[in-house]
């Protein structure tokens, strides 16, 4: 009778040989972890990048603060990410005030004022304007004027920071 090797022993032997090498993977993860910690931001996403919104770039070093969002893209004007009016329609009109945007912003202003009187959360009228880099100056002026007329005089322009 021929010799049959023990199946159990064979199994035991193989188990010792097959071992996943995790060390190099650990090295990689450590590097990624350090990189991500460096680019960590506690602010969350302030801008939603899209095709028709490219912010202008500037050398300014001021850190952005949150406020009511007014976005002026090539297609739409949005208040807190809600499309309000077509940019083309605003450009076509002669009116300096953008009525629909004002209405929408006043809603937020009134709500914030109610909060202020009831709970003491100070309403500072902060608004951040995210404009596409190609919008004409007259559109920017109209948006700014509208913000001023909608109880939000505290305007900031959001830009991409250029590395100094």
């Amino acid at each position: 009778m021929a010799f049959i090797p023990s199946h159990r022993k064979k199994h035991r032997h193989e188990k010792r040989e097959v071992r996943l090498q995790l060390t190099s993977m650990m090295d990689m993860f450590t590097i990624i972890l350090v990189f991500l910690l460096k680019t960590y931001s506690t602010q969350g996403q302030l801008v939603n990048p899209s095709n028709d919104l490219t912010l202008p770039s500037s050398r300014i070093q001021t850190i952005p603060e949150m406020g009511l969002d007014v976005t002026v893209s090539n297609d739409w004007i949005l208040v807190n990410n809600k499309p309000v009016v077509r940019t083309a329609a605003v450009l076509a009109s002669e009116d300096y005030l953008i009525g629909s945007v004002q209405q929408e912003m006043l809603k937020y202003a009134n709500e914030a004022e109610k909060m202020e009187s009831q709970y003491g959360a100070v309403f500072s009228g902060k608004v951040t304007i995210q404009g596409d880099k190609n919008i004409p100056y007259r559109l920017l002026m109209r948006v700014m004027y509208t913000c001023g007329q909608a109880k939000h005089p505290n305007m900031r322009l959001v830009v991409y920071k250029l590395e100094a």
Partner: protein
């Protein structure tokens, strides 16, 4: 009988591996968490200096009454499609010929006409040096632009008005930039 080393010692080497599986688990959780909050584009914000609740005319009138006796610089830069015009309360800085912009457009390498921001910055630096702190508004500058000037140009002009970049240093010029309604 010859000396035979113990076979047991060899096993010890194999088992010296650290158990990194829990560490891996940690990484697998941490990396997606940090990825979602990573900031790949740095954002900045430009504060605009506006008087609260001011609509053009009113603010202008209120501003002028008490300060009429004080000499003001009232420096302003106007962006037109031909270039920049610099003006103050006293005069408009002319270009090489009457009616020319103070700083005309230049041509870049590809022959496209572009705004000369560094020349503007240098000119404003000269003004800053000459005026010093003689005026109450020596930190302020007003920006005007024609209707069709694009936003990036306005922002770049603000940059040029705010600081003057020379030899890797940046000198502060007029940090309080205000925007004014367009040129009509």
């Amino acid at each position: 009988m010859a000396y035979r080393p113990s076979k047991r010692q060899r096993h010890g080497m194999n088992e010296a591996d650290a158990n990194i599986t829990p560490m891996m688990n940690l990484m697998v959780v941490l990396i997606p968490l940090l990825l979602t909050s990573a900031e790949f584009v740095k954002l900045g914000v430009i504060e605009l200096n506006l008087p609260p609740a001011a609509s053009g005319e009113e603010a202008g009138r209120l501003d002028q009454i008490p300060q009429e006796s004080i000499k003001r610089l009232d420096l302003s830069v106007t962006i037109t499609d031909q270039g920049f015009f610099i003006s103050s309360a006293m005069a408009v800085l002319g270009g090489p010929q009457a009616g020319d912009p103070t700083i005309a457009m230049i041509f870049d390498d590809k022959g496209v006409s572009v705004y000369d921001f560094s020349a503007l910055s240098r000119k404003l630096y000269e003004i800053k040096e000459a005026s010093g702190t003689k005026f109450p508004d020596s930190e302020q500058i007003i920006l005007l632009a024609e209707d069709n000037i694009n936003y990036q140009t306005v922002i770049s002009t603000m940059d040029a008005a705010r600081t003057f970049q020379v030899d890797g240093r940046s000198i502060e010029l007029f940090p309080e930039v205000s925007l004014s309604a367009g040129v009509f």
